[in-house]
């Protein structure tokens, strides 16, 4: 599914990410944890071909992602507000994204209907521009848009921050559902060790751009992670 070989990224000679090899098979929920500056977002940006690797490459379905459009058909992602088009109202944005994945108006309406709970009645039908929504609601809009194209791979950067407690619980349930029902490959980074151990079957710890732990989640994983990050 996702294959990383000898991937390196350096800025002005300083290596910020160095992953010798990593394979994420179809249907795996992959959690990425690490302190600020560990290279989590850089790694996601490299997978999404938003920055150029200094060395090595990322392949999705045996095709390199670099300067390629193919992987975009099967990948849904939300890293930050740059992934939103903030001068549109949510409906316009969902419509736009839906059309890119060849959805009909009916498909989109039906899909949004299932998201009503997640939005908690605050987003749809409000006729507000996305830029005028709170950070939490913007995040919800971004996550929903990432799912709109029925992706096989979902990439989310810190999806739980800025969400209210109910939405965090809903999102967890929701991600677990997607895994079970659609066997979706998920890459999720988080600072919250609780959440990430609940959602992900495999957890990788990054530190200063290097993989320092690669764990299959079990009952002791949370303790192990807490021990690792304790100062």
């Amino acid at each position: 599914m996702i294959q990383v070989t000898n991937l390196q990224k350096a800025y002005n000679g300083v290596t910020v990410l160095n992953i010798q090899g990593l394979k994420i098979p179809q249907g795996e929920s992959f959690g990425l944890v690490g302190n600020n500056g560990a290279g989590k977002t850089t790694f996601f940006r490299l997978i999404l071909d938003l920055i150029e690797p200094s060395n090595g490459e990322v392949q999705i379905d045996d095709h390199t992602v670099m300067r390629n459009d193919e992987w975009k058909k099967t990948t849904g992602s939300f890293l930050d507000e740059g992934f939103l088009i903030d001068f549109l109202i949510p409906e316009e944005y969902f419509n736009f994204v839906g059309k890119l994945y060849h959805k009909t108006d009916g498909d989109i309406t039906e899909f949004l209907e299932t998201m009503k709970d997640f939005f908690n009645g605050e987003v749809l039908g409000s006729k507000k521009l996305i830029r005028d929504f709170s950070k939490g609601n913007q995040k919800k809009i971004g996550i929903v848009a990432a799912l709109l194209g029925d992706p096989k791979i979902l990439i989310l950067d810190e999806p739980f921050t800025a969400l209210d407690p109910s939405s965090q619980i809903r999102l967890k349930r929701f991600l677990n559902d997607l895994q079970l029902k659609f066997n979706m490959t998920m890459l999720i980074s988080s600072h919250d060790l609780n959440h990430v151990t609940e959602v992900c079957k495999r957890i990788v710890v990054l530190e200063k751009g290097l993989i320092v732990k690669d764990l299959q989640t079990n009952a002791d994983t949370l303790k192990e992670l807490e021990a690792y990050f304790a100062v």
């Binding site: 071909d49 150029e52 975009k72 992934f83 939103l84 001068f87 316009e92 059309k99 006729k127």
Partner: protein, 494 residues
Amino acid sequence: MLIKDLLSHEWKKSIRAKGFYKNLAVNILLGFVGLYFATILLLLGFKLDEILEKAHKTLNPMELFNGAMLYILLIGLAFRFFMQQLNTFNLPPYQVLPIKRSSLINFLLLKPLFSPVNYILLLMVIPFAVQSVVGYYSAAVAVRFVLSFVLLVWFNSFTAAFLKRKYGSGLFSFLIVIAVLACIAALEYFKVFSLFDMSRALYGFIVLKTIGLLLPLSAVALAFFLNKWFFAQNYYPERFNVKLKGDKVRTTQLSFLNRFGIIGELISVEIKLILRHKRTKSILYMSGFFLLYGLMFYTQPVYAKSNGMLFFVAMFITGLLMFMYGQWTISWDSSHFDSLMTRNIPIRTYLNANYYLLVAFNLICFVLTTPYFYFGMKIVYMHVAAFIFNIGVNVFLLLFLATFNTKRIDLSKAQVMNYQGTTFKSFLIVLPIMFIPMIIVAALSALTSMTVALWTLTFLGIAGIVFRKYLITVCVNQFNRRKYKLAEGFREGE
């Protein structure tokens, strides 16, 4: 003390803004442009007496100038209404400190008066007063003449700020102002009502009588207190600061574009981008004025012989929207560039959408400039050649060169006359596109004939249209080469 502190905070705010030094080159260039206009005004000031002397048989220069005063006032007001940025100084951090609110409001209102740009016309008025008014009347009258002009500037500044805060400067108010100005001009032209005569009488009184200055002074006071009243009515900053906008957005229906698939969707997003940001909208208004550029040149016999110049004008107005928007053609998307790059949009489709949008702009401008055909067949030939050259050659040049503009444009902040995101590269992109065709025409028409020059450009344009697919591929490759630089640059906030 307080005013001094506030002024120093404002000063720090402007020089500590990120990107101030990065943009130093642009600021210096703008400074030169300002200097150029200042010089022209100063020279005009010294010549004005001579010009007005010849302009009318019975009225003397100052009387003529007085007649124009109310026009200067109205046009200045309209200009400020659309161009002047509201002084939106950030109240909340100060509001919680023990500072009297009225001092803050006074600061907010009076600060714009200290901007030297307000007084640039004095460069023309003062030499005129010294040369002409002193000669016809006396030094005292000349002083009053200059003072009355300063008061006019103050009045305009206050009134425009009030109107803008109260009514906002949307498309609707724009149309009303234009309509009012057109009515006054028409009334004057058809000699129904002369604002000129009224202005002459009014300013004659103001300038010649000792107590005359009390009149504009009270007008300024009135305008000032109107503003104070507005702030008294709207106590909380959320009511007046930054934007006067309702919560609900009118959703633009562009459903006809849906038929064109992903390209149509991308274009409709781009059109919404233009319609929902102040900066892009003000470019649209300014384009309206620029369309009249042709009137200045086509009517002057002086330019009839300089083919290069005429063609420059023809190309500029038939490709107006393309030149105005096209120079930032990819940067407009900088705030949601990541979104576009990770969704299911092949790069070719993305560039095709931009291409069709620019072609549509050209088509619109070409149609809008057809009234110029009235000035003769030469104009028709020039416009057609310019149009074909624009959509065959310039479009691709813009798409290609736009990939070098990696500066983020922050549309949500920017307003009118905002040069944020403008770098030296922006100029380098536009200069060859605008001036090379002009040089080609000037050279070819001098060596051979205008017909040969225009046919040459037309053929180049047609070739561009025929090899469109290939040229887009060149742009796609270029885009892919520059993609990471673009994404990185756009992610960097100011």
